[in-house]
Amino acid sequence: MNAFQYKDAANAEAAISASGAQPGGKFVAGGTTLIDLMKLEVETPRVLVDINRLPLTQLETTSDGGMRIDAMVRNSDLANQELIKQRYPVLSQALLSGASPQLRNMATTGGNLLQRTRCYYFRDVAYAACNKRDPGSGCAAMDGYNRIHAILGTSDHCIATNPSDMAVAMMALQAVVHTQGAKGNRDIPLNQFYRLPGNTPHIETVLEPNELITYVTLPALPEGTRSYYLKLRDRASYEFALSSAAVVLQVSGGNIQNAQIALGGVGTIPWRSREAEQALQGKAANEETFKNAAQAAMANARPLHDNAFKVKLAQLCLRRALRVATQQS
């Protein structure tokens, strides 16, 4: 691990200023991604700004009936909060399907949004070719073993999947990320927060250097909204998704209204599927509709030699999630 200078910050302004004072600054919250990657020498910050003392630990309802989740709210606290479980079950389910109880006690809301890929070639510096780690060096996964890699949103430069469960649920919930930086505050809808890899896979979000996520808001959901998160993986617990689906919708007179669909484990970013949403809008909540939506979601899939199974898996995953969500009372 490279040596770094440690700085403690008491508030957001101090953290932003400490991180920006010299090049190579990083914020550390739960540390479950960053410190892991520092041990692997994938991340090599020169300054580490500890934001664990920041007063960003509240979880409260907003005036419009939504929720405000401060960036330092731990994943376990968010998952088990009563209002989240009642109003946004998809988010609680997604969080509890991720990592382990120990890691959920450490990981934060802001940090989870910035989780980095589990691509084995990205995580192992013995492989020289990784455009995400070393821009312009190539992609070892493209011709390597790419069973866990993405089929949506890929480019010729990167096929790494985003590993977050939480972000998939938040994508379906149309969350907004609120940030603070040297240039002021920003409100960034989550569906504009992540950047497709394109030819710059090392740039994963629209965040500026030293810009700090301060909180996330979830909009209020209409009365009667149903939501559900289904995650499919190699083990029943403590494993990343091969395919997951977050479903948020209403059913009126047997027809689906306002479906918001996001997929995990298959995209280079938490994947909002407008195609599936359009295929569901106003349609009868039945198997034929679910099948059409699942096919629409995968219409632009680009499978590689080891991950073609994900096309079928993602379709079955979404169909089952829709079946469960629409059959809820």
Binding site: D36, P101, M106
Partner: protein, 188 residues
């Protein structure tokens, strides 16, 4: 040929006063690292003043600086749970957090779990139900089990399995671990 080969290849490893190393590798103990800083840790109710490289994890500080060897290093990447400790009463992977980040926190390790000479109920249950074989994962399992008593967990065995999934056991003592945790929960 084989024996000769071994002899020859072993030769450079022998101490040879005639051929001292040209450059001495810098030997850095954590305390002697050039950027070491004062770090205060509260572990099992005791305050410790240390001088640590900021790169020192809680796990390494416990084992290398405080001689508290109960907490085990398995994967060192948050994947096995052998390093589980309680920080302010919550279970965490001590390998994935730096000691310098926990100067205001209360750390409890397996050494601090028994009180007044009495085993913690989860420790006693591990003995009663034979919840271990080689023992390497056991401190982490017990620290997870002890924390689980105060967490929202369903009553059934499957819920316990799910909430113990962050602790791997290569011996496969899982059935007895679940039995031990369930027994401790019933008595809690």
């Amino acid at each position: 040929m084989g024996i000769a080969g071994i002899t020859v290849s072993a030769h450079p490893l022998l101490a040879s006063p005639a051929a001292p190393p040209q450059t001495e590798a810098p030997v850095q103990t954590p305390a002697a690292a050039p950027n070491a800083v004062p770090v205060t840790l509260n572990v099992n109710g005791k305050q410790y003043r240390l001088t640590l490289d900021p790169r020192t994890t809680v796990l390494d500080a416990l084992r290398e600086n405080l001689n508290l060897f109960g907490t085990k290093k398995g994967c060192d990447h948050g994947q096995c749970g052998a390093c589980t400790v309680h920080i302010n009463g919550r279970r965490m992977n001590s390998c994935l957090t730096f000691a310098i980040m926990h100067q205001a926190d209360q750390i409890t390790t397996i050494e601090g779990l028994a009180q007044n000479g009495q085993l913690h109920p989860v420790q006693a249950a591990f003995v009663e139900f034979d919840g271990f074989q080689c023992g390497y994962c056991t401190p982490g399992q017990i620290m997870s089990g002890a924390a689980l008593l105060h967490e929202p967990v369903g009553q059934d065995d499957d819920s316990v399995r799910e909430m113990m999934s962050g602790n791997l056991c290569r011996c496969g003592a899982y059935n007895n671990i679940v039995a031990a945790v369930q027994s401790a929960r019933r008595k809690a």
